[in-house]
Amino acid sequence: MTAPHDRFAVLSRLLHWVMAVLILAMLFIGVGMVASESPRYDLLVSIHRPIGIVLLVLVAIRLVNRLVNPPPPLPTTLPPLMRLAALASHILLYALMFALPLVGWGMLSAAGYPIVLYEGLQLPPILPRDLMLYAILRHLHTWLAYLLFATFLAHLGAALFHFLIRRDGVFESMASWRRS
């Protein structure tokens, strides 16, 4: 039986789903562009950069929104270990959502590349030009992306676990679009 459970605020749900689509797209764009040398490569790289910066702006808005509109409490029936896993995985998700665009921006800065978002719109470097630093950040970008993908899968698995097995309203608190 579904226990009554508050939903996330409309803005929270909107941010969640817009970012979910963009992040999933970015993971595949990222994997696709490093695996490609076709003319698609240029296209993929040139959309990877602006979407990354959009995600950085969105996650900043999202963090502020989370303080303004705190998430609904987890059901009291949830065992402490799952409560801890929920907390830890959300901290990890937020950390990665901030880290990936910043590491991407930083690695382009360290390599001395121009950080072109759109024709004529360029961001300043945020790190000094340093080849070793570039190499470290470039690899970090890949590994953090894999970690984000793994965390996303865990998040999806947990959401489905709430929806299909625990049926405690946690899934609906984010995924339901019915009018309140």
């Binding site: 040398e37 076709s38 240029d42 390599a111 001395g112 570039y134 190499a135 690899h139």
Partner: protein, 102 residues
């Protein structure tokens, strides 16, 4: 040399030559007036990516540009990774001035 193309000249296939009568402009000459080792030179740490262009210059639809950009990005990362382990250049300016290594 700069060759001035005309509409319809293929730009997306480097294996197709343009007609021989296209005007050509001698736009300058490269003069080598000094030598330096790659160790201290200023072009080692740069990725000459053909898609990193100053504003006002657009890439063509040549698929080689994307392929080179992708391959250069990868090799640049590998090179950057080894920057500290790289042994000093095997050929020094002194060797070159002496006419090569004996």
């Amino acid at each position: 040399m700069v060759t001035i193309g005309q509409p319809g000249d293929p730009t997306n296939d480097a294996t197709l030559p343009w007609p021989a009568d296209r005007p050509r402009i001698d736009a300058g000459m490269v003069t080598i007036d000094g030598i330096s080792s790659e160790d201290g030179g200023n072009c080692t740490d740069v990725n000459y990516d053909p898609l990193v262009l100053p504003s006002g210059i657009e890439p063509s639809d040549d698929p080689l540009l994307s392929a080179r950009s992708a391959a250069y990005a990868r090799s640049f990362t590998l090179r950057a990774n080894e920057a500290k382990q790289k042994p000093p250049s095997a050929v020094t300016p002194k060797d070159v001035k002496a006419g090569g290594k004996s």
